[in-house]
């Protein structure tokens, strides 16, 4: 199988830094144990993690046949076994039938609605070396952390465009963007938005509780890949290297009182059949333990980053992505599915009619550049982007496009209680 070439050396790194970087890349013994919690990291009951990972390890997707797929499509409720068949290569010829079934399930649970939101990156400092990410600590990009005044200004610009749901993101640096900083940003966001989600570094349950009290109610954490051996080769340094702590983030968020949690693998990093299976089972098992919570799935594919425009999602083409999303929908009909601006317009316009229930609009993955992007006004220096987006539609364009696709755009369907 083809592989991405992730390693890029910046000429701005000191010799010592370069040496350390190369050692991490080439000498596994120089890296910490990725299965060991770091000091201060809360440990919780590992039952769900063990269940998901053992199911994934035992998943032999080549054993499924066309008959298994047909049976799965005929069953009224989709079992775990049926889901495995729908994710397998044997299901590829059944994509249109899967889409038709997925559409019916989406309609039952969500009607003709599609939710709109936008991400807001407030800082891009990062302490991790994740080889595929534009924010990684060795990548030579312009770093920035917004002040509270700047955050509020960004929020005003976004809110004026009509958006009511915001997903706030940071790079993963506790030192630069601590929990209090993020909490204060949530308090500001409450003034401008109805619904606040977070996509930040994983924290302990008491910290999630604090952030919930500041106004956030949804937490998204991408596991990137559920294959811990592969994970170890991609996350070479920093707290993100600790695989189990990241895996358990959503459960800690629910323990901290958050209403909903989001999940995903970053498709293209590892075997997508297994990663898609694990992502969905992660929800399936958590839902049985926390039935009142709301769950959502995303489906990001690898994108080019600053200083490495060759990064791509390998064998996860649009067809495979569509298969994964249809399988998700049939197996977990009640779960929200978000498709971000990593995907192009034609894909997003098509998939919202089948399986997706939420799309972003007016997106920037940079820091502090909403005004210049929305109005063209030069607003000075901003921080660089995490990845290149593929769909730059504004909120108004997206709203109108969704309406003309026969869907009802929903800006908010939530109250904080």
């Amino acid at each position: 199988m083809a592989e991405n070439q992730f390693f890029i050396d910046s000429d701005k790194l000191s010799e010592a830094a370069l040496e350390r970087k190369h050692k991490l890349e080439t000498d596994p013994s120089s890296r910490t144990n990725h299965m060991e919690y770091m000091p201060g990291m809360e440990q919780i009951d590992p039952t769900i993690r063990n269940k998901v990972l053992s199911e994934m390890d035992n998943y032999d997707y080549n054993k499924y046949t066309a008959r298994d797929v047909q049976n799965a499509l005929e069953h009224e409720t989709c079992s775990v076994e049926d889901f495995k068949a729908l994710l397998s290569p044997a299901a590829e010829p059944f994509l249109e039938r899967m889409a038709q079934r997925a559409k019916i399930e989406t309609g039952k649970h969500f009607g003709n609605t599609v939710y709109l939101f936008t991400p807001l990156y407030i800082a891009n400092y990062c302490e991790n070396y994740c080889v595929y990410c534009g924010f990684n600590c060795y990548n030579d990009i312009h770093r920035k952390k917004l002040t509270f005044e700047e955050i509020e200004h960004e929020m005003k610009v976004i809110a004026d465009s009509g958006i009511e749901e915001i997903l706030m993101l940071t790079g993963e640096s506790r030192a630069q963007s601590d929990v209090e900083y993020i909490g204060e940003a949530c308090r500001l966001a409450k003034k401008y938005f109805r619904n606040i989600g977070l996509e930040i570094y994983p924290v302990n349950s008491d910290e999630y509780r604090y952030l919930h009290e500041c106004g956030a109610d949804y937490v998204t954490v991408f596991q990137e890949t559920y294959d811990n051996v592969k994970y170890e080769t991609l996350h070479l340094m920093g707290h993100k290297r600790v695989f189990p702590y990241r895996f358990e983030a959503q459960e800690r968020a629910l323990m901290g009182g958050m209403r909903g949690v989001g999940f995903s693998a970053l498709l293209g990093l590892s075997d997508f059949h297994k990663d898609a299976l694990a992502s969905a089972l992660h929800i399936y098992y958590l839902q049985r333990k926390y039935p009142y919570a709301e769950y959502s799935l995303s489906c990001p594919r690898l994108r080019p980053i600053i200083n490495n425009d060759k990064i791509n999602p390998l064998d996860v083409h649009e067809k495979q992505l569509c298969q994964i999303l249809c399988a998700y929908r049939i197996f977990l009909p009640y779960v929200g599915i978000t498709v971000s601006s990593r995907e192009q317009k034609h894909f997003r316009d098509g998939i919202v009619k089948i399986a997706a229930t939420k799309v972003s609009a007016g997106v920037s993955t940079g820091i502090g550049d909403h005004e210049s992007k929305y109005t063209g006004k030069d607003t000075g220096e901003s921080g660089d982007e995490q990845f290149e987006i593929s769909d730059g539609r504004s909120f108004d364009q997206m709203y109108n496009d969704m309406e003309s696709e026969g869907l009802q755009p929903v800006l908010n369907d939530y109250v904080y209680v």
Binding site: Q287, P291, Y334
Partner: protein, 256 residues
């Protein structure tokens, strides 16, 4: 049958079709209300919590009674808070209590629903609790001050019809409040059947929201509900389960 009305919280209604407003476009809601002849429309408080462009309240005709629901509430306390918000938003005193602690099936939690009903009735709300059709819960809801009970026919959005028919019939027979069949009604014929059984009204949403032609389907439900009501009032004729029957097969031997 001209004055065939029913009463909720002192208000009289002649239409027995309660329309849901979720899952479809605002323009269609207006057309659906008109074609349905509905006098009550439910709306999620969380959907009205929006700033511009799509505020549902702007699309509902003035003469229609709003029935805000507490969807999003996971326990009685949250339901009470959402109901108070509805009142503050100007939605009136009617409230449909919906408390779900399961995001997969969205089944109502009867225990919390009784608690919320009692608290809200004390605050002067006209409380219509969405419930799983259980006789004991229904009696508790009567004692808690409910204005009606709203048992589910089958899981929300499933369009599976009267899966709980036998239990709804028990509520209709035993509970003195209006029994409004809610959730899971997928076809006009199922709505008609609920009315034949003696339900006071039927509420439907997904079946209409996801129909090919929303306003026409709203009209079809209206006609079906009226037909079922007329059948109930006229007294249904005998319906044989199977085979034919002689006039007095067992007691024909009696002489005086």
């Amino acid at each position: 049958m001209k004055n065939d009305t029913f009463t909720l919280g002192g208000k009289e209604f002649s239409s027995r079709f309660i329309l849901g407003s979720g899952k479809y476009s605002m323009e269609l809601i207006k057309a659906a209300v008109e074609n349905a002849g509905a006098q009550i429309i439910t709306l999620a408080v969380r959907r009205t919590n929006t700033k511009k462009k799509e505020n549902i309240l702007d699309f509902i005709p003035d003469n229609v009674t709003l029935l805000p629901n507490t969807s999003g509430a996971r326990d009685a306390k949250e339901a009470v808070r959402i109901a108070r918000m509805a009142r503050e938003l100007g939605c009136g005193d009617f409230v449909k209590v919906e408390i779900m602690k399961d995001s997969k099936y969205l089944l109502p939690d009867n225990v919390e629903t009784v608690k919320a009903t009692e608290m809200l009735a004390k605050e002067g709300f006209v409380v219509l609790p969405y419930m799983y059709p259980d006789l004991y819960t229904a009696r508790d809801l009567v004692n808690a001050g409910a204005a009606a009970v709203m048992p589910l026919a089958s899981p929300i959005g499933s369009n599976k019809g009267l899966a709980t028919k036998e239990f709804i019939q028990i509520l209709i027979d035993e509970i003195d409040l209006p029994v409004i069949v809610d959730a899971g009604i997928g076809r006009p014929s199922q709505a008609c059947e609920a009315m034949e059984m003696g339900a006071a009204a039927v509420m439907a949403n997904t079946a209409i929201a996801t129909a090919g032609d929303v306003p026409v389907m709203a009209g079809a439900f209206k006609a079906a509900i009226e037909a079922g009501r007329s059948a109930y009032l006229s007294g249904l004729g005998r319906v044989l389960e199977r085979g034919a029957s002689a006039s007095d097969p067992l007691t024909g031997f009696l002489r005086d």
